[in-house]
Amino acid sequence: MTLRLQAVTKRFGALVAMDALTLEFRPGRVTSVIGPNGAGKSTLINLCAGSYRVTSGRILLDGLELQQAEKHVIARAGVARTYQNIRLFDGMTVLQNLDVFLYPEIVGQTFAEVFRPRLSRQIKLQRSARCMELLERFDLDRYAGQLAGDLSYGNQKLLEIARAIVLRPKVLMLDEPAAGLNHGETHQLMKKLRELIRPDLVMLVVEHDMNLVMALSDHIFVLHQGKLLFEGTPAEIQTNRAVQEAYLGSPGENDQIREAARRRENRVRIRADADITRHRSGAA
C-alpha cells in the first residue's frame, strides 16, 4: 500500500498551511518529513489521520480516499499515528492502553464477553497475550499493571508507539517521536523504530532531531511554507544548499525546541531545557 497526496491544499483562513502538495510515501522504508516550524509537517499528519479536512486535493491509500473519510474509519483502514504531545489514556493501565486499540477488531465480541464468561476468559487471555508480547518488545512488560500516567516520559513515548502498532497498521505516522527525549532514550527509540520496519508498512516520521532523521530515514521530504522544497536521501539532503539555508543548522533550531517544550508539561520542559543546554555545549 502506498500513501499518496495529490495536489493537497490546506488553508486556515488566510494562512496557506499546505500548498498544492503532491507526495508519495512508499511501504518498506522510512520516509521523514522535515522543515522549519510552520512548514506544514504536523498539518500533513493531521490531514492524513482525518483530524483536519483538506481544502482541496486528494489523499489516497491505494484506492481509498482518506480526505473525506471519518476519523475512526481512517483508523480502521490501517492508518495509525502518534501525537506530538503525548496522548495516552492516563487513567488506564499500560496494558489497557494497548488492549483498547483492539476495539475496532473485537468490539463485536462484547455480547459474548458479558454473557458467556468462559468464552470471555478466552477472549481476554488472547488479547492480553497479544498485547503483552508487544509490551515485551518495547521493554514495558513490567509496567503492564501501572497507570499509564505514572510512567516516565520516555516510556510514555515508547508506549505511544507500541499502541499505534497493535493493530498492525499499514501506515504509521510518528509526530516528533524523539521530542523531549535525552540522548540515551533517543538511541533506544531509534533501535525500536528500526525493528518496526516491515516491507508492507508505510512509515512516516516528522522529527526535529536531525541525528535521528538522518540515521533512520531512507527518503526525506523537506517542506517549507507548505511547499516541497527538496526531496532525496539523507546524504543528498545534507549537501543541498537550499535546504541548508532554509532549515538545517539555522540558528532558529534552538528556538524551535524551546517552543516545542513550552507546549508540553513541566517535567518535560525541564528535560528539554537540559537538552538545549547540551545542544549548545555540543555546538560550541
Binding site: 475512526h72 499515528r81 488506564m92 488492549d99 476495539y103 475496532p104 499493571g145
Partner: protein, 335 residues
C-alpha cells in the same frame, strides 16, 4: 491491578477449592439472610429495599458517568419512564392490566429508547454543557408528567396500581420485594462488572480519558456513547418499574431534580466507576438520612456538606479503585 499481574506469575492456586470456598461463603450469607429477613421489622426491610433500588439506579448511572465520563444530571427521567410505564399499564387509569414481567420488559425498553433519543442530540456535548442539557431533559420529563393530565393524572399521580405477580406469586410486602430485588441487583452488578471488563468497557474508558484520541484509534464514539446511554437508561427503567410496583403509587414529585442529584451523589461519594463504591454509596446515602429523619429539612444541607467534604478529603470517593469486584472475588477465593 498490580496484585493481578503478580498472581499471574505465581503457579495457579487450586481454583476448584477456591470456588467451593467462595460458594460456601455466598450460601452461608444467603442462609443468614433467609433466617434474618423475616425477623426484621417491615420498616427496616423497606429501607433495605430502597437501598437496593438505588443500587440499581447507581449501577445504571455509573455506566454513563463513571465508565464513559458523560455527566448526566437527568437520570431520574428514565426512572420516571419506568415507573409510569407500570403505573399506566397496570392500573385503572386506562383499565389496562398487563403482567408485571411484561411491563418490566416494556418499561426497560421505553427507558432505553428514551436514553438513545436523549443521547443523539447531546453526542457533541461534553462536560458542563452535557450536564445542563441532561438536567433540562429530566425537568422536561417531570413537567410532562405533571401537565399531561390525560395520561398521567397530573400532580395527583396514579394510585391504586395493581399488585404485581411474578410466576404466580403476589409481591405485596417489602419482604417480597427484597427477594425480588436481591437477585436482580446481583445480576445487574455481575453484568455491569463484565461490561466494565469487556472491550466495550475499555472503549468507554478511552472516551472518558480523551475522546478525540479514542476516535483516532478507531472507536466509533457515536455508537459507544449511545450504547452507554441506552444501557444505562434501560437499567433506570427497570428500577422505575419495580419502584412503582413497590409503592403502588406514583406522582411527579418522586422524580424531581433532587432525585437525579441523589443518584449522582451515590456514585460520586461511593467512588466514580467503582461498583463496590456504588453499593456503599447507596447504603450510606439512603440509611444516613433515615437515621436522621428528625432533621429531614437539613437533608440537602447534609448532602452538600458531604459532597464538599468528599471533594476536599477523598476526591476519588469513599472506596478506593483497588477495592473493586475483582478484589472482592479474590478475597472470597473465587479466582
Amino acid at each position: 491491578m498490580t496484585s493481578e499481574s503478580a498472581a499471574s506469575t505465581r503457579p495457579p492456586p487450586n481454583r476448584a477449592a477456591g470456588r467451593i470456598r467462595a460458594l460456601l461463603i455466598v450460601a452461608a450469607t444467603l442462609g443468614a439472610l433467609v433466617l434474618l429477613v423475616p425477623q426484621l421489622a417491615t420498616y427496616h426491610v423497606r429501607v433495605i429495599d430502597t437501598v437496593l433500588i438505588y443500587v440499581l439506579l447507581g449501577v445504571g448511572l455509573n455506566m454513563v458517568v463513571g465508565y464513559a465520563g458523560l455527566l448526566d444530571l437527568g437520570y431520574v427521567a428514565f426512572y420516571a419512564i419506568g415507573a409510569y410505564s407500570y403505573a399506566i399499564l397496570a392500573s385503572g387509569q386506562f383499565a389496562i392490566h398487563l403482567p408485571f414481567a411484561l411491563i418490566l420488559l416494556i418499561g426497560g425498553c421505553l427507558a432505553g429508547l428514551a436514553g438513545v433519543l436523549l443521547g443523539i442530540p447531546v453526542l457533541r456535548l461534553r462536560g458542563d454543557y452535557l450536564a445542563m442539557v441532561t438536567l433540562g431533559f429530566g425537568e422536561i420529563v417531570r413537567l410532562l408528567l405533571n401537565n399531561q393530565v390525560w395520561l398521567t393524572n397530573g400532580p395527583q399521580g396514579i394510585s391504586r396500581i395493581d399488585e404485581p405477580f411474578l410466576l404466580g406469586v403476589g409481591l405485596n410486602t417489602p419482604k417480597d420485594f427484597f427477594w425480588l430485588l436481591l437477585p436482580l441487583v446481583a445480576i445487574a452488578l455481575t453484568l455491569a462488572w463484565r461490561l466494565e471488563q469487556s472491550i466495550l468497557g475499555l472503549g468507554w474508558a478511552a472516551i472518558r480519558e480523551d475522546q478525540d484520541a479514542a476516535r483516532g484509534i478507531g472507536i466509533d464514539t457515536t455508537v459507544a456513547k449511545l450504547l452507554a446511554f441506552g444501557l444505562s437508561a434501560t437499567l433506570g427503567g427497570f428500577a422505575g418499574v419495580i419502584f412503582a410496583a413497590f409503592q403502588r403509587f406514583v406522582d411527579p414529585v418522586s422524580f424531581s431534580f433532587w432525585e437525579s442529584l441523589t443518584i449522582v451523589l451515590i456514585i460520586v461519594i461511593g467512588g466514580l466507576g467503582n461498583l463496590v463504591g456504588v453499593v456503599v454509596g447507596a447504603t450510606v446515602l439512603i440509611i444516613v438520612p433515615e437515621l436522621l429523619r428528625g432533621y429531614s429539612e437539613y437533608r440537602m444541607l447534609l448532602y452538600g456538606c458531604a459532597l464538599v467534604a468528599m471533594i476536599l478529603l477523598r476526591p476519588r470517593g469513599l472506596i478506593d479503585r483497588r477495592y473493586n469486584p475483582a478484589w472482592l472475588m479474590q478475597v472470597l477465593g473465587w479466582r
